[in-house]
């Protein structure tokens, strides 16, 4: 096992630069999630670590060894693809054994590793089946099995859960977490789903337009977003950003609480109410004429109806951002 270093990694296709220098030190055994909207370059970054894309600039090192010029097979990584990329004509067993067979491992060793992985992933009874005869979740597990048997230094996951239905996704998320606890292998996981990122990551990279906007532990990123992009990308509904005194005031929907009109720091003109059972989301705009949209998360018992809603917030929950650069101001 090994850490991964990204040192000012750049990627460009001809004139078009898609990754503008990402740097990060990933410790051995860490679970890192790369989060961002589609087209932000997160998959490209992962594929550069895998060796499927040429690195245009900077360095990537795995376990202290610079791998820029190495073929994927020599980087000691294993990758799980979004659409699983199982070999359709091979059985589950052959799919998992293929990489090992190419490496020339003895049959007994291959068998031992495949059986072990099949045990971990509960695939034992499906080993003779073709991928076609498996459900989406089972295919996903075979794809993970194929990665596990290689016993790589780093696992790379490219949106592996996005082809699964919502329920299975939650279940696989749990299994992934358990797997990481068990194997302790350094993992890079690309997703656009903030829930996956928040629940799986030990640390995460929030990417936007080829730049790492913020790197940090999920709760830290949530509590202290470094830019307005991060503030509005993470959290659902996203953080409210209100222009105030030439700056942007950010406050999360759950930190707005209804109060009497006299105590009101803001008054929201409500126009949309979404009762979710556990709590109620209300949306509207500021009553004093400014156009900013606001959202608030209210307790389910709070009375919510269209009209004016006076709210207040505690000072420790306020974030300030520069409206031009989008960067965080102050602590």
């Amino acid at each position: 096992m090994a850490g991964v270093s990204l040192r000012n990694v750049l990627k460009s296709y001809g004139e078009l630069q898609v990754i503008h220098g990402v740097s990060m030190e990933i410790a051995d055994g860490e679970f890192i999630v790369i989060l961002g909207p589609s087209g932000c370059g997160k998959s490209t970054l992962l594929r550069m670590v895998a060796g499927l894309e040429v690195i245009s600039g900077g360095q990537i090192a795995i376990g202290g060894r610079v791998v820029n010029e190495l073929e994927p097979k020599d980087r000691d990584i294993a990758m799980v693809f979004q659409n699983y990329a199982l070999y359709p004509h091979m059985s589950v067993y052959e799919n998992m054994a293929y990489g090992l067979r190419i490496r020339g491992l003895p049959k007994s060793e291959i068998d031992a590793r495949v059986q072990k992985a099949a045990g971990i992933l509960e695939l034992g009874q499906y080993l003779e089946r073709k991928p076609r005869a498996l459900s989406g979740g089972q295919r996903q597990r075979v794809a993970m099995g194929r990665a596990i048997v290689r016993e790589p230094q780093v696992f790379l996951f490219d949106e592996p859960l996005s082809n699964l239905d919502a329920k299975l996704r939650v279940q696989m998320r749990g299994e992934l977490q358990a797997l990481h606890r068990r194997l302790g292998t350094t993992s890079l996981f690309v997703t656009h789903d903030q829930v996956e990122a928040m629940t799986l990551a030990q640390r995460m990279i929030v990417m936007n337009a080829g730049r790492a906007e913020q790197i940090g532990a999920p709760l830290e990123v949530y509590a202290r977003p470094a830019t307005t992009f991060v503030a509005s990308f993470i959290g659902s509904p996203p953080m409210n950003l209100i222009p105030k005194d030439g700056k942007l005031l950010g406050v999360r929907p759950e930190h707005l609480e209804p109060c009497s009109p006299a105590d009101a720091m803001l008054t929201i003109e409500l126009d949309l109410i979404e009762p979710l059972g556990s709590d109620t989301l209300v949306y509207g705009h500021i009553a004093d004429g400014q156009s900013a949209r606001l959202a608030a998360r209210l307790h389910a018992s709070a009375p919510a109806q269209a009209g004016k809603l006076p709210v207040r917030y505690a000072p420790q929950h306020v974030h300030w951002f520069d409206p031009v650069t989008g960067k965080r101001i102050g602590p």
């Binding site: 499927l52 994927p72 097979k73 990758m79 990329a85 359709p88 004509h89 490496r103």
Partner: protein
């Protein structure tokens, strides 16, 4: 559509039966003629029930050929035809699958130029380029040889194009997964692409086998030696002149023999053939 309209059913069957008769009747007449004596065929009208000369006629053509036209035995011609058809089918598939692999999976300079060059040859079938091709084969001393029979017919834009289309539907991730697994390009080709293409290969094999078997003009030009005749050419060489001068019973027996192998290939490979045309296994 589920409909119960007796008249339509009747009409549909009538048309289908008519179609079958139109196609099958000449084949039947051929078969009947191949079982008769020459004198019986020369009667008008010719009998439409099989005669008693089946074994005689067939063993005559298989071992000795006709007595009036070419005296080459059809048995040897069947062997020649089989070699030619197999060489063309296998050669075409082998070359086109490799060129399609190169065009789809490798980035090399002038890649699209090469693709279009191959594609443009679609417009140049053997018949169009027959004189220069003949000259080349003659100059290379390949007349009356298996190489001369097959090599000019092997290059195939159609098959290359078909494999290219198939390869483009194979997800890129499969190639990437193989790369991560440590498979080099040829390993990927042999272990992944080839098994995935097997139904396409089967379909192409059937089509190209029949194409090779039915070649007429090219073998007619370059085979002058009886030992190199293909079956189709054998039929032509048995026809020597006016209607009455030909041994139609033997010619028809040869025609039946010429029809048999392609029909067998289609029947035996039908399952694969249909699969290759209608479904892609991914």
């Amino acid at each position: 559509m589920v409909e119960n309209r007796p008249f339509l059913t009747f009409l549909a069957h009538a048309i289908l039966i008519l179609g079958v008769v139109v196609i099958a009747f000449p084949v039947y007449v051929t078969f009947v003629a191949s079982t008769l004596r020459l004198e019986e065929i020369m009667q008008a009208p010719m009998p439409l029930l099989p005669g008693d000369q089946l074994l005689e006629n067939y063993s005559q053509v298989l071992t000795a050929g006709s007595t009036k036209g070419s005296r080459a035995a059809v048995g040897a011609m069947l062997v020649n035809s089989t070699i030619m058809a197999l060489a063309i089918a296998i050669g075409k598939i082998a070359i086109s699958i490799i060129s399609a692999f190169a065009i789809v999976y490798f980035r090399f300079p002038l890649r699209m130029t090469f693709f279009w060059m191959i594609f443009i040859t679609l417009m140049l079938p053997v018949e169009v380029r027959i004189i220069p091709t003949f000259q080349v084969i003659a100059d290379l001393g390949m007349l009356n040889s298996y190489a001369g029979l097959t090599v000019p017919l092997i290059a195939s834009a159609t098959a290359t194009f078909l494999f290219r289309q198939f390869f483009m539907t194979v997800p890129d991730e499969l190639a990437e997964a193989a790369r991560v697994d440590g498979a080099g390009p040829m390993r990927f080709f042999l272990d992944v692409l080839l098994p995935l293409s097997k139904t396409s290969i089967a379909a192409l094999f059937v089509i190209q086998f029949i194409y090779g078997w039915n070649q007429y003009l090219w073998p007619l030009l370059i085979t002058t030696d009886e030992s190199m005749y293909t079956t189709v050419i054998g039929i032509k060489r048995m026809i020597v002149g006016s209607d009455a001068a030909n041994e139609w019973n033997l010619i028809m027996a040869t025609a039946m023999l010429a029809m048999l192998p392609p029909a067998l290939v289609v029947i035996l490979m039908q399952k694969w053939f249909v699969k290759g045309l209608v479904e892609t296994e991914k």
